[in-house]
């Protein structure tokens, strides 16, 4: 199993910080371009996903952790993705301007 020796001195944290910063700059840069809607969103999501992975793996040292810890970490992410996919079709579609779902009537009313 992983011990502190496993990652001690093996990580170049300046380089990792550089990678994450470049990803951040790229994300902001993409958001400011006139790129098409879906392409822009997908590019930003992809860059954020890479950033997420780098932080999880390189800064939180997940790659050095024993399998059981990796399972716990990845299961939580997989669980929430399944939750989202599972609930998406049942999401209550409230028509806020409609007759029965006019939020202004039951939320704003004083």
């Amino acid at each position: 199993m992983a011990s502190e020796k496993d990652y001690h001195g093996k990580q170049n944290y300046v380089m990792i910080l550089g990678i994450i910063t470049v990803l951040l700059i790229a994300m902001v840069g993409v958001s400011l371009t006139s790129m098409g809607g879906s392409t822009k969103v997908l590019t930003i999501v992809a860059l954020a996903a890479v950033q997420f992975y780098v932080v999880l793996s390189e800064l939180m040292h997940l790659k050095f952790e024993p399998t059981v810890v990796k399972i716990a970490a990845y299961l939580s992410v997989i669980f929430i993705i399944l939750f989202m996919l599972g609930t998406a079709p049942d999401t209550l579609k409230v028509d806020l301007e409609g007759k029965f779902g006019n939020g202004s009537e039951y939320i704003v009313k004083d």
Binding site: I16, A48, L56, L59, I81, S104, V108
Partner: protein, 204 residues
């Protein structure tokens, strides 16, 4: 597969990772809910909603949090080398950066939003006016924004307190493994922000 055995993982580290897994599920629930609402209401991307947020202030805050994560891993490396002075310095830098993040959020960003009439329940703030469907949808965006960034901010406060007390406790060279555990929690705060930042500030 011997490293699947739970008893071989130090209890503190296992506990922190389970806490992190729980936090991922909690924040994941919020994020999933927001994504579903965002797909339903394109108004979230309008100038009165996501478009009203200052990208540059958000970017600055993201950068501050990134650097604080770097100072935290450096403090952890210093703890492994039993370099207590360096460890304490870098943990202090982490604390200062965390407080700067909170200062920008609570001292500049949120007051600006409030001044523009955006609150966790903006629709109520515009009570008396005709709060039509679009206003309600925009209000929903601000509810998500304040709830999630507020909850994240609360984690920064807790993380800062943890780092502070761990720093005090480890200053005599005892229980240095706690620096790693506090660091893991701090990285979780960064991990969540990595998702929240593009979600609120960049995707319009």
């Amino acid at each position: 597969m011997s490293d699947v055995a739970l008893e071989r993982v130090p209890k503190g580290r296992l506990g922190v990772w389970l806490l992190i897994a729980g936090e991922v599920v909690i924040f994941g629930g919020f994020i999933a809910s927001y994504i579903l609402a965002r797909m339903e209401y394109p108004e979230f991307g309008s100038k009165e909603a996501a478009g009203a947020l200052n990208v540059w202030v958000g970017t600055l805050n993201t950068l501050i949090l990134l650097v604080s994560n770097w100072t935290m891993v450096v403090a952890h490396e210093a703890a492994l080398e039993k370099n207590l002075a360096k460890m304490k310095s870098y943990m202090t830098y982490t604390l200062i950066l965390g407080l700067i993040f909170l200062g920008i959020k609570l001292g500049y960003e949120w007051p600006t939003d409030f001044h523009e009439g955006h609150t966790i329940n903006s629709a109520k703030a515009i009570a008396g006016a005709e709060a039509g469907g679009e206003i309600m949808k925009i209000s929903l965006f601000w509810s998500y924004y304040f709830l999630m960034t507020g909850f994240h901010g609360l984690h920064i406060v807790v993380g800062s307190l943890v780092i502070f007390f761990v720093m005090l406790g480890c200053s005599k060279g005892e229980n240095l493994h706690r620096v790693e555990l506090a660091g893991a929690y701090w990285h979780l705060v960064e991990l969540v922000w990595v998702i929240l930042f593009p979600m609120f500030y960049l995707i319009k």
